[in-house]
Symmetry: D2
Subunit: 389 residues, 4 copies
């Protein structure tokens, strides 16, 4: 790609859509990505307005994603967007992603991958066929200490893994917020836009992905208690899942959006024969490593920390003690994606650290998780297999 | 009883039995209970030796609990023990408790109540019939902040309860410690002495009791994943249980003895419509109260804290900031039991704070929990009812 | 300024200068500032290279700041930089800032303001005379919870302020790092480039500024213990200062760069008649508010938190529980500065939240602090007045 | 002493005197000390009543300490108290301690040692002359993790010590509590009963003792800011002290009783060349050990913790994770004192762990600290030497 920024087009992310701002800040942080165009809303007027607010030229704020993808495709090489970032509700994931891939654009897609498993399977095939770079924004895998945990476990430091606890408690849906005009709550609680799951799709998939990413183990069976607690709501707003992993380890996943008073403290604990790790977003720059017969260790983020793994250090921007947060974790996904895209453009082999972002396979597993835990929630059978058949 | 200390006889608690020491320190702390005799071991020599170490007169260190109960029964009123404290392994709970009750002695009994549910049902009947005072040492209910949480929930401060998470992670059985001569591990992993459950009986019952005590809600259904992780072990050393409560609330109970690096951080979180509470033993003097729309509150132990409930204040000994711990929580059980016994002796009505200790009903529910989670662990059926039929 | 990004030119921030990267990320985050040029190094070749790495056109990477300021001044209105960001060592603060101000550019300047108090006085005069917007990057004032604390105190919630503890412990200079070729350590320990103070200038001024900002009170007297602990070092690497404030409150400031094992956990505690606040960078999204007679409160960052002050909410980007960190605090300075500059350009009155960034007066006070604590460190007199005479 | 409990007589500790209860619980916990008599109040009626409440025989509740010491001295060997525990306000420390020592009784004395330095010097001489065992209850040195810290530093693990921060913030005297009839506040704010210092004597001496105990270093110079913040109060209720230690290390001591909202979180941080330790009472079972180039370690209390020093393990009663608190720390002082007394009685050499409790030398240093910091607070001279001349 030579000496230039990657050009991003955004689909969704207009007024009231908080995640669009997050994606933009994350993309911007490292100075390697430039927002050049967008179809920010299905309402062309709103899209124009958003483009203006984002200081884009009027002709790059499109009235629809189909228009954007086609018109950008006709622009000269030195102007055309390189990739799309799709930040719409779940029911508008598959079509724009498909169109973008088919028209030669790389794709960043918010999670969960699609509205349902069938779409996810098709999208995964398309990614494989087109060979475009695809990133699904399971943000929490972007934290340096999450990567450090994965590294330690991958190196066998904890011995064989036996136990995995992952939880994601939220409280923001403890009342029927969707009845008050809150846009975030509105689509997330609507089956037509969210899919078969509410909380399990919105945050349960984050938790499942984090557990698999750090442990390096696939979930093979689930036994779920799925609840709709707030009256008048259709989709689940709470659940708990017993887990079995491919190596025989067992685990538990908790995800609730009605844990009144909770924010977003996603937390992971993994235990092996020799010790355990503990990480939580609220203290994101700390990784506790507990040992059977030694004092526990406190590992810390920081670009000047001597003992960190290469991959953790690579995903760190500030000296130890200057906290990095959610936006930096998110930015790591964008930066690694961008580096991979740039390597592709330049015909170079990407560094292993660059390709370390969630991909279509992760997205497909997330959709499988959704389908299976919802199936389990409705079943009298104890265990449901996590396979696609 | 007039102006005197209550006289305690101990069954068990000889050399190598850590819990005997704990009981003795707890009983001693407030100066209202005096150890006067014991049958500290099934080996009369060891019992003698223990009596000597404990500065007892030789004739009050008995060779067996039957001898102790009978001989003490023959002593004059002003010398005879008032109650027994039974701190033996589970298989030696029922018989001595029965004998003590039948001979007019009050009973403090370590948990779980008995070797199996049938024994527990019989023991509960005996307690009801004899009318003796009976305390089961679910220690964690003795913490002031646990009582404060129960009070807040009982007052309806959180609104209707929706969600209960309770966990008890330990790591001390992450290796096959029972093969190394460790007495604690030895009997706890032996079905003949421990019963049908290992971890679920030893710590799972503590967690279940804590959840029911604080929420004021009974568990009605369980769905359990019960595991024996360390090779060569017979009983469970790990498990996770999905819970349903009588009001429709759902929950999760985690109990593991193979979470390498963990100590004894039993932790409880309960969420209602308006907020949630969080308590953990590692920060035992703090109760977090989280609210939907207000800053979270940090409530603190302390005999000088103005905002605490009467029951929390009553169970506190030191000014705020001077931490109270496990022994003080344990001592609260003994003190409240002793006050209740003394009121009984004096023909007085005990204060409500005095009778606030786990009783035979709690013990029975613990045994029911054990039977049902083990049954659930072996079943392909998703939910198992928590009733005695 | 119409619908465009502000154009930033950077002085300093070439290879090995960590703070340059930090400034650039902070400036970039909100998409309202664009780096258009720089004099990144006093070595023209290095400056060119840095410009290339930063994807700047070759003609905007200048060989010196004088060249940059003059050449940019000759560019047309729609291309010329709007402000300079100066991120050089202390001895290269005054001259470029002066030149920029005199040539009509606004200025962002890294702290401490200058090499010595005399320079600071002149620079403050220049800012006053030119009327250009000037921001000194005392980053920690950018944290939302720091602003919340200031707000609560300003509203009188704590009553009259009595006690202020502020501390900034670091450990990175616990060995003679400057002898190993570390550029950061090198200039910070050199009087010619750092000024009369080492640790007191580098981090002590941050602590002093934070205390004054949050309390709204000026330091009036100091009594300092100033130490050079690592052998071979010339400037102080450690110190502690007793403080008196204008309202009679007293305080303590700790700053050390040899507290081995510490990172950057700047921490502030302020107590008034009714309660106290506690904030520390390691848990930056939390403000503890302690009360004399009520449970302590935990206030939390989040753009969806209902109880926060307007100013705290305004400086927040993510929902509660998604941590914001050092870069976001830094970005708040840049964003507020940029909003103020844009209002100036558009002839509009800036909102009160926009002008909330450290200015030349803060810078001058920082230099006064440095001079006085170093003077105090050398004096046998107990108290040294903090005035300019 | 043979096979018996040590017999304790108490001076002070009647109604409303919280510290008397604390001493009694601490003395009782381990079952090696028995309260046999007391002069609980200067009012004989109140003393009788207290004796009754404590279940003592009427003839062992004395009307004055002189009566108690003389009458107990006349009792036969197998009945007479072995030692006195003095828990009165400071002005009633010297005389009863002197009388007890002169009459052959060992002494436990609450801190600070005496009303003034002159008394302390005399008392120290008396202890040396009589050879009785003497313990001053600087409770915080009884914590296992405090002893672990002392051990690590003594072993040279941190290298040469450079920096010591110790703080003791309280808020209970943030209002003029002494005017409301609070007995604790009343004598502590009265020079006739407290001595020349208020907060510096009550809690400052604890902090100074903790710093010297753990570091193994003596304070040689002080520079103090001593404040009386609450109107109408005579003695200091707040202060901060710059410290110099015998090896050249510097430090800071903070002690305040007007830090509204604070409880009793005494905290110590010590830094050496290689790392630092951090301990605070609020998390008393944890010792953080921070290293320059390795992950920090979390050391934990527990009688089953393999890596602890012998002295830390010896002072622990419960398995890791079952928190021990203030009363257990206090009980360690009593137990170690009792073991030393018993060894003395039996003509045996006490184990090194047994004699590890604060003694008359510590008490003398505490009184010196009080005199010197108050002198410094009134002086224009920067540094005041900590010597007795």
């Amino acid at each position: 790609m030579g000496n230039r920024k990657l050009r991003m087009g955004m689909i969704g992310g207009g007024p009231g859509a908080f995640i669009g701002d997050i994606h933009r800040m994350a993309a911007r942080l490292d100075g390697r990505i430039e927002l050049v165009c967008g179809a920010f809303s299905s309402d062309p007027e709103k899209s124009k307005k958003a483009g203006e607010d984002l200081l884009l030229p009027p002709d790059r704020a499109y009235g629809s994603y189909t228009e954007m993808i086609h018109r950008e495709g006709e622009l000269p090489d030195d102007k055309r967007m390189d990739f799309v970032s799709i930040v719409t509700p779940n029911h508008v994931h598959f079509e724009p992603a498909k169109l973008a891939l088919q028209n030669g654009f790389h794709v960043v897609l918010d999670k969960p991958m699609t509205l349902n498993l069938a779409e996810a399977q098709k999208l995964k095939q398309l990614v494989d066929q087109t060979g475009q770079v695809f990133c699904l924004t399971h943000t929490y895998t972007g934290y340096p200490m999450v990567k450090e945990a994965r590294h330690l476990i991958g190196m066998g430091k904890l011995g064989e893994i036996r136990k995995i606890y992952v939880e994601y408690p939220q409280g923001w849906l403890a009342t029927r917020l969707e009845a008050t005009g809150n846009k975030q709550a509105d689509w997330r609680t609507d089956p037509a836009r969210s899919g078969v799951a509410g909380s399990m799709g919105d945050i349960g998939t984050h938790a499942a992905n984090l557990a698999e990413y750090v442990s390096g183990l696939k979930i093979t069976r689930v036994c779920a208690d799925i609840n709709t607690i707030v009256e008048g709501r259709v989709l689940d707003d709470d659940g708990a899942v017993l887990l079995k992993f491919e190596n025989g380890a067992s685990g538990v996943l908790l995800a609730s959006q009605v844990a009144a008073g909770e924010e977003n403290n996603i937390k992971l604990r993994i235990y092996g024969e020799k010790g355990g790790i503990e990480w939580e977003q609220e203290a994101a720059n700390r990784l506790l490593v507990k040992w059977r017969d030694k004092p526990a260790e406190v590992r810390r983020t920081g670009n000047n920390v001597s003992y960190l793994s290469k991959v953790a250090a690579y995903n760190t921007r500030t000296p130890a003690g200057h906290p990095e947060g959610y936006l930096e974790a998110f930015a790591n996904l964008y930066r690694n994606f961008a580096n991979t895209v740039a390597a592709r453009m330049n015909g170079e082999q990407p560094e292993p650290e660059w390709t370390d972002f969630p991909d279509a396979e992760d997205g497909l597993r997330g959709m499988l998780f959704i389908e299976k835990v919802i199936e389990s929630g409705r079943s009298d059978k104890k265990w449901i297999l996590m396979d696609e058949s």
